[in-house]
Every structure is written in C-alpha cells, then in structure tokens.
C-alpha cells in the first residue's frame, strides 16, 4: 500500500489527480478501522494531516463560516459551538474523547455513511461542501446533493473535500440521536432541526434511517407554514405531532442489528417533536429576553 503525504493543498490535489484511487485519510477513525478489519485494501492512502489549510476556520465576506475539512470534532465543540450549535451537538455524540480529538467532518463526508453524525445538522443548516480538483478547481455542492447512496458521495475521483461552508445559526438548532448506550454509540437513527426565523423557514436532517442522510422536506414545508413566526405563540400540540408524523414519513429505514425499522420511525417522530419543542421554546425565550 502506497502512502502519500503531501504538505500543501496544491500537492494534495496533484496527488489525488495522479492517483485517483488513493483513499484520503485525516483522523483515521474510520479508515483505519476498516483497514484493520480488512474491509478495504485501498491501493494508496493520501494522508492529509500535514496540509495546514485544512485545519483552518475562516469567515467569508458574507458571514458564512468556512470550516476546513480537517477541523476535528473537538474544535467544532469548543470553538464553534456558539455559532454552529447543531453541528456541535452532533459532534459531541461522536465516539469517545479520543475519537473526537482525531475525527473530522471532512472524514464523515468522505465516508458518507448514512449513520454519520454530522450529516443531519449539515442538511438542516443548508451547508455546502466545497470540493476541489486540480483540473477543474472549486466546486460547491449543497449537502442535500452530496449524499448519493450508502457510503457513496458526489465527489469525483480526482476531487478532495476542502471545507464545509455553513452559515452561523440564525435561530435555535438541536440534534438528537438514538443509541442503545448512553455514549460512544453509532446512531440507530438521528435527527437535526434548525429554525431560520429570518426566512421563516425550518431545516431538518434525518440520519441513519434511509440509504442516505436526507431532509424531511414535507415536514419542513408544513412547519415553516404553520409556525407562528411573528407572534411567537406557544407551539400547538397538534402541529408538533404532525411534524413528527411527517418526519417519520420521510424516513425509509430498514431492520438491522442496531434496531428495527418500526422503532426507528417511531423514534424519529418523538425526536422531531421534542427537538422542535426545545427549539421553539428557545425562539420564544429570545423574544422575551429582547422585549
């Protein structure tokens, strides 16, 4: 197995172009497990750790955050938790402290497992994945178009993930995940919600309940229309209930060793209802503080 270790981003892109079947590795929390279990024998590993640009976070002129693909979960939690609360909450549920020190959202996107914890908040926040190749330069892929199948994503063979572009939260965000253990567990299913009060819009993300992470579009549309954005009145029980039902309907889970399809659907409806309630209550509280 070849081991490529470029030091600059340009070299990394050149290396990927030169050997498109090289598997990028950052934290190694996924890639190394698969290698150790002999699931994959990639012809080459492309170690992106020395590429310093990937560890950077910057704010673009329009206020969007550009989070390098190599920023580990622990930094998302500690440095970006105030601006990206949904992603930070999801990051907090990833593995153990050691895993969170090493693992990255870039790696989560590269693996594109339907159970990846960062996907639902990326979907709910309309994140955009910045991919790049030496031949064609930068390509911006909305998260909703990024996931193509079980462990398949929209990247071309010569592309690498440079960063995630994501706007700071404009309203409350929550992430919730079912696991049969209280920490360090792969999602049985997961859900993210983001309120965008300025746009009177709701974003969602459903994880581990379909071949790819997906948005619950009908649920978003229903809720965006039903919520009392101006008066910020209390959430009606029937709206929350209906929202949960629509999220459940958006899922297409399977029975597997981690849980049954029926349970996943049920749990999604409960998580959708609860996270909406928390988010809406936060939203109302903000108004109260402001007044």
């Amino acid at each position: 197995m070849e081991f490529l270790r470029p030091v600059t981003w340009a070299d990394a892109l050149a290396a990927k172009a030169g050997q498109p079947d090289a598997l990028p590795i950052q934290g190694g929390t996924d890639v190394m497990v698969e290698i150790n279990f002999d699931v994959h024998r990639p012809p080459a590993l492309l170690d992106l750790n020395p590429v310093r640009e990937l560890a950077e976070v910057e704010t673009l002129p329009d206020g969007t955050l550009r989070v390098g693909a190599g920023v580990p979960y622990v930094r998302l939690i500690n440095e970006l938790g105030d601006r990206l609360p949904g992603l930070a909450q999801a990051s907090r549920t990833v593995g153990s402290p050691q895993i969170r020190n090493r693992g990255t959202v870039g790696g989560n996107l590269g693996a594109a497992s339907p159970a990846g914890d960062s996907h639902p908040p990326l979907l709910a926040s309309d994140a955009v994945i910045e991919a790049e190749s030496s031949a064609r330069g930068t390509r911006l892929i909305p998260a909703v178009d990024f996931y193509k199948g079980v462990k398949r994503n929209a990247l071309e063979p010569d592309e690498l993930i440079r960063a995630i572009r994501i706007a700071p939260a404009s309203g409350p965000q929550y992430f919730s995940k079912i696991g049969t253990r209280n920490a360090m567990v792969i999602a049985v299913c997961s859900f993210a919600i983001a309120l965008h009060p300025d746009e009177r819009r709701v974003g969602t993300g459903v994880g581990s309940a379909a071949p790819t992470p997906r948005r619950a579009t009908a649920a978003e549309e229903f809720l965006s229309a039903e919520l009392d954005w101006d008066a910020r009145g209390p959430l009606s029980v029937s709206v929350a209930q209906r929202f949960g039902e629509l999220v459940k309907e958006a899922a297409a889970p399977i029975d597997d060793v981690r849980g049954t399809a029926d349970y996943r659907k049920h749990a999604l409806s409960v998580m959708a209802r609860r996270t909406l309630t928390w988010a809406w209550n936060d939203h109302r509280a903000t108004r109260e503080e402001a007044s």
Binding site: S176, R181, A183, V185, S190, Y263, A267
Partner: protein
C-alpha cells in the same frame, strides 16, 4: 501478569522472546505493607492505566513467524475439497496446515469430552470453526495467503433451534454426541399435590440472549520450539495445567516437554477456559521449527472463544396467599452450540441453582444443554447461574405482584438461611443471612431525582434524546446465589510453592503458583497472605508457569479460596520449618516458639531474633496442595446431592430512569449487599463487585451477540455494546463478613455473585418504570416502546 512473569529468580528458561515494555521487578505493592485485610495497590494497575502493561499480544522475538487461522464462513457444511497449494505458493508463506497435520490426537475438549476437532475434519459445525493454519513471515502475508486456500463446501441447513433439538434429538444431531448434551432433572417433594394446594399461581417464559465475555485482550500468544524437542508456550489463559492436558496429546508430546508460561492476560471472564490458538501455534512452531506468534483481531476474537449460553426458560410457581412458595416447576434450555465445552457443568449449575436461594418444598426442574450449529457456548462469569437468576427473580416479582407483597418482602418470606436446604437437598452449613441482607438493602438511602440540567444524567445521555420528557423512575431488586469452586465431585486443587531466604540481608519470600492472574488481583493477594503468615515485608511473586503444580482454574470465584488457601498452607509449612530450625539452632530452652512481625518469639523468653538471624544462609522451601471439601455429583434422576463446596449471596437494588417514549434506560444507581466472609483486600473486592455489576448491567440492557441462522451479526465492538462509564452508575456497597469456617480466613468467593443479581434488579426497575413484562434480556428499546 506480564511484569511479574518476566523477571524473577524463576524466570522462564528462555527470556529472549520478551521484547516489550514492562520489564519491572515483581515486588507486589509497596514493600512491607499490605497484609490480609489491607488494600495494597496492584502492581499492574499503573502500567495498565499508562498503556505500558505487556499483554500476550505484545510478545515478540526476532525471526518469529505469524500464524493465521482460516475459519468457516458457514454454520454447517461439508468440506468437499480443500486445496492449500495456492496459499503455499505465496512468497513469505512457510507452512499451511490442516487436520491431516495434527501430530497427535485430533480432538480436544473439557471434562474428558474430546469432541472438538483441532482443525475441521471434512465438515464444519459452526461459523468460525478453524479449518486450516498458515504461518508466514508477516501477519498480512499469512492473512492473504489464507484467503487463497480453495475450499468447496456443501452447505447444509443449520440446526439453530435448541427447543427443536429437545423435541427430536435424533433428528437434530449436529455431531456424534448429540442431540442433548445433558439433561439434569431436580425432583423434590410432590409438585402435583402442591399445585392443588396453591392459592396463587404465577408463570412465565423468559429468555437470555448470548452474552460475550468481551475481554479487551484478544486471544494471542507465542509458541517456540524448545531444545528438548518440545514447545515453550507463552499464552493468556485461565488454567495452564488444563490447557496442557489438552494440548499435549494433540501435539503428540508428553506433558513435560510442553513448558507453559502465563503471558499478560487482558481479561478472561470464562472466555479463556477453552483453548483458542494454543495447539495451532504449537503445531506451526513444531512444523516450521521457528517461533510462531498468533494474535486474533477483534473480529476473529468473537469467533475465537465460547460465549454465555443463551437460555429459553419456562417457570411456574404456586404459593400461599401470603406469598410462601409451595412449588416450582421449571424448564431451562441452554444452547451450547456445536461442541461440548463446559455445557455439562453449566447445565448442572442451572439445575442445582435453578430456583435460587429460596426455600421451596416441592420442585420439578428439567435443565437441558443441547448441541446446535450456533456459536459454541461455555464458561462465562456466573456459569449457568446467571440465566436461571434472571428467570427466578422475574418470578419473585410476579409473585409479589400476585400476592400484593413488596418485592423485598416476598423474597424475605422465602429466603434461605443457614441450615436451609437447596433444591439439591444440600444443607447450607455456613451463614446465609439473605433476609437480613434484603432488609439492609431496602434501608439504604435512595438517590435524588436526576439533575436534568445535564443531559448526561438522563436516558440517552450525550445523545440528547430528552430534556426530561417521558422519563419515569423505577426501582427493582435482585437476589442471586452462586456456587464457589468447582462442583459435583471435582477435586480442583491448588498448589503453591513458598520459599524463604535471606537476600541482601533481608528475609525475602518467593511465592510460586500456576494460578492465572487475569486482572482479578490474585498476585496482590498472594503477597498479602505471605506477609500475613510469615511477617516478612519483602515478597516476590514468581511468574505463573507449569514448573510448579496445578493451581486449578481462575474461574468459579475460586482463586482466593483455593490458591489463597494453598499459599497460606505452604506458608504455614515454611513457618513450622523455620521455628523448628530456630529450635535446632538455638536449643530447646526457649520453649514454644511463634512468628511475630518478622521475629521468632518464645512464649517464655521473648524475642529469639529476627527471621534473618534464624535463617542465616539456609533456605526453606515448601510446596503444598490445597483441597476444598469433597462434593458429590448430582443424582442423574433427582438432582439430589451435596454438589457444591461453598455458596455465595449477593443482592442488588437498581434505580433507573427510563425514557418511556423512546425506550432508553439510564441506570441511576445500583446498591449491593454481599457477604464475602472476610474482606481480604477491600479495594480489589469493591472492584470485583463494581465490575460484576457492570457486566450484569450489560446483559440487562445492551450486551448480546445477535445470531441469525447460525451467523453472528455483530462481531465488533461497534455493534456488540458494553457499558461505558456513562452507563455504569455509582454504587452503594454494604459488604458483610460472616465467616465460612471451612474456608481460608473464612472467606467467600466474590467475583461472580454480583454478576447474577444486578441483571434482574435492573430489569425489575425498568418494569417498575414502564409496566412492561420484559421477559427477555438484554431489554431493547423496541421492547419498551412496543
């Protein structure tokens, strides 16, 4: 205990293989401190926490080969052809072996049941059964070459339903022995007559899933050809001498030419009672003339050892209106998988302890162990008593509900005490204060309501599934009884050699046993015993190996009792010789002598002198065997007999918060009362109770090897979940010391009992919170929300 194994006056003859961290002196605990009853720190603790402890998987010697094992992908298949040529052709491969290359007997097994092929012969009977071995100069080469072995299978329909086997054992025979491995009835009184008297009848069907020992150190070791044509084996195991008895015939070597040394053991819990890579590495080393290392990866480890028997159980109890049990009718079916392993004795335990520590005048138990094509099952902490305990404690709660009594009161009314008879007719001769233990447990303060400001205190924990919505608290109780030491007529003796001499002007004791330290703390305890008995500060524990006599197995909660007893006995022999020597050297005028804190003292004339003065250049060495009192086989028809050496009780109270809408559980607190006879090392003991409780928690709410059609669906720690620190709550412990007059220091084995009672206590608490029947463990979220 690797560090202790590697350097001492009786280090293995060949120290070359050990090239890894952890070369530390074998002094146990801070010098001069730590007698029986103290809590000296374990010598391996810091190393393990710092990641420096050398496990068997760290063994290394230059020029060694790596072994790999080709395993069956099918639960049941005939091997039509097998071609090793493509594997042999791979550069770097030195040997490829099949059953034809087994030098001696081609089968091994426990209890004289030699039914497990060293390598599969013409057919495979479970997924993961070893078929062929490869040795190569690199582990990856071995692994890739192994995949080139060409096998044609004729896949057969696997037998996977244990109850179907009982219904028609002849039809569902998966191997020459059966069928049914053991059917053990227990018959007491007249159940049918009692049924007519009963005012309350409760019944239930219960299931226990297949739990794994989930030790962290995979099966691994090193085999080296020795100068005498034999083999030096460095392995992690629970019982070297029993390994030896099985390995020697298969390798075609006399036992004395196989030299076993215990390597660093990364946990055991019963999973190392069966052989894994021992014979295989020995075959490769003999064949190639080179040292061979084998180390399973995590995936392979799930197929490399036996698991806890899954159980399917039917119980019916009849009682008086005031909750006194009149009869019990019980059927327990244990799925032992393809080979016998420990199923005979696990079934015996399930039968003899099938109704727990309760006085029941009329009993009809039928316990079955059966063969199937599911993964082989054998020893795991609790050994047959765990499965029955979940059922009989669930029954006690049903009886409580039916009679309107509290769960504690119904248990107290039926509790055994000293002098009670067990289901086997065996009278409990030492203290068994169960009713008092329950009263103490009930009186312990309850934990406060959860602080919901931190999601980690709530069900779902860090995953944030609730901020308090849907959360209901529940409380449950569990009681368990476990036999200590081997039962049913087995004389599981332990041997200890103790040597006393003056080194560097200081009296020094060397303790040498073959007892396996698997993390439980026996090395520490052996030194405590030597210090207590001989009053010497400096104690060294020699590496455990087979140059000293059998120490029996590190299982059945028996090593403190048995090897502890042997060390004590050998120390007494050394002491007696020392006092005799004092008399010889200084004349008999001193009169009656005794040892006190490192001094030989005369009852009449005071101090004779320090041990150093008495010994001078002399060396005293004594080797002693320790036996527990004899036991009897259970009667094959009635199950009657004094089958157990010692019995130990533990009781648990569990407090849980359940998210009733999502089915997620947070165990808030566990409280336990356990009678240990005598506390030898409180720190170690509390660790055992915490650990056993955690393992029981795992069985209650998450741990299961999921098997479908004979295939394991979750052979990884990604999907076989064991409790994290966020799942395991703080514990309140009340440890009682009612001495057992038959046991050394009055001690009672302590490692297993907490594994029994924690599981039913937690499930009872979840039932209390949810109102669900929950008849199967582990309880899954979908069971709660169903």
């Amino acid at each position: 205990m690797r560090p202790e194994n590697r350097t001492s006056s009786t280090a293995p003859r060949n120290q070359a293989p050990i090239k890894s961290p952890g070369h530390v002196a074998a002094h146990v605990g801070p010098e001069g401190r730590g007698r029986v009853g103290d809590s000296p720190l374990r010598p391996d603790g810091t190393l393990k926490v710092a990641g420096e402890f050398a496990y068997s998987s760290d063994l290394w010697i230059d020029g060694m080969l790596w072994g790999a094992t080709l395993r069956s992908p099918h639960p049941r298949a005939l091997i039509r052809s097998l071609d090793i040529a493509p594997a042999l052709a791979v550069p770097g491969v030195v040997a490829v072996l099949t059953h034809e290359d087994v030098p001696g007997v081609k089968f091994f097994g426990h209890d004289g049941t030699l039914d497990q092929p060293v390598l599969a012969i013409d057919q495979v009977r479970h997924q993961g059964e070893p078929i062929a071995l490869v040795a190569a100069d690199h582990p990856e080469t071995a692994r890739r070459a192994m995949e080139k072995i060409a096998i044609e299978f004729e896949v057969l329909e696997p037998v996977t339903d244990a109850r179907a086997v009982i219904a028609d054992p002849e039809r569902h025979k998966v191997q020459p022995l059966g069928g049914i491995t053991r059917h053990q009835p227990v018959r007491v009184g007249d159940v049918d007559a009692a049924r007519a008297q009963a005012e309350v009848v409760v019944s239930g069907d219960f299931e226990v899933g297949m739990q794994d020992q989930a030790f962290l150190g995979p099966e691994s070791g090193l085999a080296m050809p020795s100068e005498d044509g034999g083999i030096d084996l460095y392995v992690s195991t629970q019982w070297m001498h029993n390994d030896l008895e099985q390995i020697a015939p298969c390798l075609g070597l006399p036992e004395e030419r196989i030299h076993m040394t215990l390597a660093g053991v990364g946990g055991a819990f019963g999973g190392r009672e069966d052989l894994s890579m021992q014979i295989h590495a020995g075959m490769l080393a003999l064949h190639t003339g080179k040292p061979v290392k084998m180390s399973y990866n995590r995936y392979e480890s799930f197929f490399g050892h036996v698991h806890r028997h899954p159980a399917s159980m039917h119980y019916e109890y009849g009682a008086t209106a005031d909750g006194k049990i009149l009869y019990a009718e019980v059927e327990i079916v244990l799925d032992g998988g393809a080979y016998t392993s420990s199923t005979l004795n696990v079934t015996g335990n399930a039968a003899s302890l099938g109704v727990g520590p309760y006085e029941i005048p009329n009993i009809r138990i039928d316990a079955y162990g059966v063969y199937t094509n599911n993964p082989p099952c054998g020893a795991m902490r609790g050994f047959g008593a765990v499965q029955a305990c979940f059922a009989y404690e669930s029954m006690m709660d049903r009886l409580a509900a039916a009679t309107g009594l509290s769960p504690v009161e119904v248990r107290r009314r039926n509790a055994v005490s000293q002098g009670s008879k067990l289901a086997t007719g065996q009278v409990i001769e030492s203290p068994a204060p169960l009713a008092d233990m329950l009263t103490r447990l009930e009186a312990m303060p309850l934990p406060p309501a959860a602080d919901t400001s931190d999601i980690r205190n709530l069900p779902g924990g860090a995953s944030q599934t609730t901020h308090g919505e849907g959360v209901v608290r529940g409380i449950g109780y569990g009681v368990g009884i476990k036999n200590i030491c081997f039962s049913e007529g087995f004389d599981d003796l332990s041997t200890a050699r103790v040597r006393l001499e003056v080194i560097g002007g200081e009296a020094t004791v060397l303790v040498h046993t073959a007892a396996a330290e698997v993390g439980q703390g026996l090395v520490t305890l052996q030194a405590q015993i030597a210090r207590s008995e001989l009053g010497v500060r400096k104690v060294t524990i020699a590496p455990a190996d087979t140059t000293v006599g059998d120490a029996g197995s590190t299982s059945a909660s028996r090593q403190s009792y048995m090897s502890g007893g042997a060390v004590q006995k050998a120390c007494h022999a050394v002491r007696d010789e020392l006092l005799a020597m004092a008399e010889r050297k200084f004349g008999s005028t001193y009169g009656q002598l005794y040892l006190d804190d490192g001094y030989v003292v005369s009852r009449w004339n005071g101090i004779v002198g320090p041990i150093e003065k008495v010994l001078g250049e002399d060396v005293i060495e004594a080797t002693r065997e320790f036996h527990h009192r004899p036991t009897q086989k259970m009667d094959p028809e009635t199950g009657q007999g004094n089958s157990h050496t010692q019995l130990a009780l533990c009781v648990h109270r569990a407090v849980v918060d359940v998210d009733t809408e999502l089915g997620l559980v947070k165990v808030v607190e566990m409280a336990a009362v356990q009678d240990v006879g005598k506390i030898l090392n409180r720190l170690s003991l509390e660790g055992q109770i915490h650990g056993g409780s955690a393992q029981g928690l795992g069985l209650a709410v998450m741990e299961e090897i999921v098997v479908a059609g004979g295939l394991v669906r979750n052979p990884s720690f990604t999907d076989y979940l064991i409790p994290t620190i966020l799942d395991m709550p703080p514990m309140r412990l009340d440890i009682l010391e009612h001495p057992d007059p038959d046991a050394p220091y009055g001690l009672r084995g302590a490692g297993e009992p907490p594994t029994l009672s924690s599981t039913p206590a937690i499930v009872a608490a979840v039932r209390d919170a949810t109102g669900k029947a929950l008849t199967r463990v582990p309880v899954r979220p979908e069971h709660i929300v169903a």
